[in-house]
């Protein structure tokens, strides 16, 4: 007998107020007004926004292999705290998630942890080496049911290999998520190439290195009639190319990270490697273009690219430092700050970009669903009026590498319901789903 919960007086993403939702047996039992249910735990949602549980299309959980940076357990705790009910775990673990065995291991670790629905991403090429296709079909047919394939961190730069991958995944309705980075144009790259890199004397990562790959890939995707997803779009030029491709009917989706919606390469002047990330922080013009693109749907979704690193990989010279930032526990607030408080988008579009569309891209059937009776109760309850100051030492992730440290941000996750169970309640981590097969 599981506990039932009555979420009372919530505002929906669409703006409807005073909505009650009864959660029982993992599902939304009832949606209505002035519901009552004896024995239900009441969650007062007055003034709070009830969203479909957030789905991250781009997370690094680091396990297996880099458990010093993050584990599935700590990463999914962080996800739950950030309002997520599902994350796509990128394939660049050690060993690489390029076989059915590894993706099933990650999937099982997620099930055992019980904080969110962990969807493993399969590598496109064996060992991310960009030489031959990994066993995409075996991963798709495994218990993990992989649908998203990516060599993220490394670009599938060989055009023939990319073409074959795009074609092959059609057999099981998969998608290739490309890390668009022309490798020769970015050898030794340390930051965005532009006015700031010129002054700092750091090797530049030119926008064209991203844009040329995206241009090639959308043309390939059109040619072979495949589905393409572009990871972490970071330049205004990339936005233009994706907009053009969508107008031509190319089946392409794109993601932007919260940090690319807020931060610029001016921060590199501090030489603090917490700002070192791939793709790099770009310019103000890029930030503006990315925000507009997310608002108008050219960029479909927000993906965190949550990339925890142990502190020794950041407490060093810029050139020595690892690339990446944590993001799961700040994504909602950063997007609210950059997109909603600026009037660029509303909570309905937020729900689309952080839940509905990422679930569709990943073909996750039980996530990103309408707020309706009978649906799986994957829900995020947000207090949009809250304000808090980011402190990486208070986070659930092992990574302390948050570029937002010290920043005051709006919006707080009050509760996260994962398959009917509150993994987060009253803004604090609660318990994993009781069906978790814990040790």
């Amino acid at each position: 007998m599981t506990t039932t919960y009555l979420i009372k007086g919530a505002t929906t993403a669409a703006g409807e107020t005073g909505v009650d939702v009864l959660v029982a047996d993992g599902r939304i039992a009832e949606r209505g007004r002035s519901l009552s249910s004896a024995g239900a735990v009441v969650v007062d949602a007055d003034g709070l926004v009830l969203l479909p549980g957030m789905v991250d299309i781009h997370t690094h959980l680091r396990e297996p292999g880099r458990e010093d940076a993050e584990t599935v357990e700590t990463g999914t705790r962080a996800a739950a705290m950030g309002g997520y009910t599902s994350v796509h775990a990128m394939a660049n673990s050690m060993p690489v998630a390029d076989t059915a065995g590894v993706v099933e291991q990650v999937y099982a670790l997620g099930r055992r942890a019980g904080w969110v629905d962990v969807r493993p991403v399969g590598a496109v090429t064996v060992g991310l080496a960009g030489e031959r296709l990994a066993e995409l079909g075996a991963m798709a047919q495994s218990r993990a049911g992989v649908r998203v394939f990516s060599d993220d961190g490394i670009c599938v730069s060989d055009p023939v290999l990319m073409r074959r991958a795009l074609e092959y995944v059609k057999a099981f309705d998969g998608v290739v998520a490309q890390h668009a980075q022309e490798p020769r144009l970015t050898e030794g790259a340390q930051m965005n190439e532009g006015a700031v890199s010129a002054v700092l004397g750091l090797a530049g990562w030119p926008a064209v290195a991203e844009e040329s790959i995206i241009a090639r890939d959308v043309l390939l995707a059109q040619h072979v009639g495949s589905r393409l997803h572009v990871c972490h779009v970071s330049t205004a030029g990339s936005v233009e190319i994706i907009r053009w491709a969508k107008q031509r009917g190319v089946n392409v989706t794109a993601e932007v990270t919260p940090h690319h919606l807020l931060l610029t390469d001016e921060l590199v002047r501090s030489w603090n490697p917490v700002y070192k990330v791939n793709p790099p922080l770009r310019t103000n013009e890029d930030v503006t273009a990315l925000r507009e693109a997310l608002a108008d749907g050219t960029i479909d979704v927000v993906g965190t690219d949550h990339a925890p690193h142990p502190s020794e990989h950041k407490e060093c010279e810029w050139a020595q430092a690892a690339m990446g930032m944590t993001g799961l526990e700040t994504a909602l607030s950063v997007v609210q700050h950059a997109m909603i408080e600026t009037g660029l988008m509303d909570w309905a579009r937020f729900a689309e970009a952080t839940s509905i569309l990422p679930a569709q891209i990943g073909r996750v059937q039980t996530q990103g669903r309408p707020l309706a009776a009978g649906e799986m109760a994957n829900l995020t309850l947000v207090d949009p009026a809250a304000r808090w100051t980011v402190d990486p030492h208070k986070m659930a992730t092992k990574g302390r590498n948050s570029p937002f440290a010290g920043l005051e941000l709006p919006g707080a996750v009050v509760a996260t319901f994962f398959a009917g169970h509150p993994t987060v309640l009253e803004g604090r981590l609660n318990t994993p789903h009781p069906d978790a097969q814990g040790d």
Partner: protein, 332 residues
Amino acid sequence: MKHLLSTENLSAADAIRILDTAEEMALVGEREVKKLPALRGRTVVNLFFEDSTRTRISFEAAAKRLSADVINFAAKGSSVSKGESLKDTAQTLEAMSADAVVIRHWASGAPARLAASDWIDAAVVNAGDGTHEHPTQALLDAFTLRRHWSQIAGRASLGEDLRGLRIAIVGDVLHSRVARSNLWLLTTLGAEVTLVAPPTLLPVGIADWPCRVSFDLDEVLATGPHAIMMLRVQGERMNAAFFPSAREYARTWGFDDDRLAALEVSAGKDTIIMHPGPMNRGLEISSAAADSPRSTVLAQVRNGVSVRMAVLYLLLSGDDSTQPTPAQEATV
């Protein structure tokens, strides 16, 4: 001033104070006993993550002439090459009570990182970081320029800036910390700078820089600049398709004998030729040019010691302009 990390953020007043102090230090170098007691009991560490005998011995001579204790810490062959981090190295030096750390590093920003961290309290002097900055090189170049042109104008150089001077910096600007530091410092001091380079060796994003850019060395020489600063071409650039061949580079952007001869008949009667060293004779500069009376290469080396003395003195003796100058102090 707590640290000297770059010239980008160095004010004209601070720069002139360093140059003026260096003038006093230069006097010490001319004495029989080339030593001041100013930094007695203080410890200066030369922390070199990249080989540079020239810069290291210049700093060592500077610190020793100020009576500081000098520790040379070459990262090659030390614990650093065994994987010790910059943080651990810095904390080790802190535990040994270093008062100043002179750091040379292959990574851009390493000195700034050290200064901003809580790993160490010592004053940090950037002795060249990656392709970012080399502020004491720029200061010694400015010192050399100021002395030379003040002398010709028949003025004392103390208190002077570089207004009215036109300087061409020629060569691999993209990878040059010397070019960057000089551009910021010389323009802060009022000079006009023209960068001359093949387009492949200029950074993208240069449009905002306070200088002119030219691809034509002869055209710039014809305008009779007060100084030509030749940059070293690193060997590894030759294999990376920045230019087709060393010969083509030397012909087009090298300071060769023909260009030296052309100066005699052009407006550049008093033009000086500068080079931070070490020189690639026959590549960016011909032997005739390097050894000509116009060359200030050795004066730059000599001035380097004075400028580095001034920097160490100002950083370690506090930033109080009411203090007695080192020359006054030395007579006490």
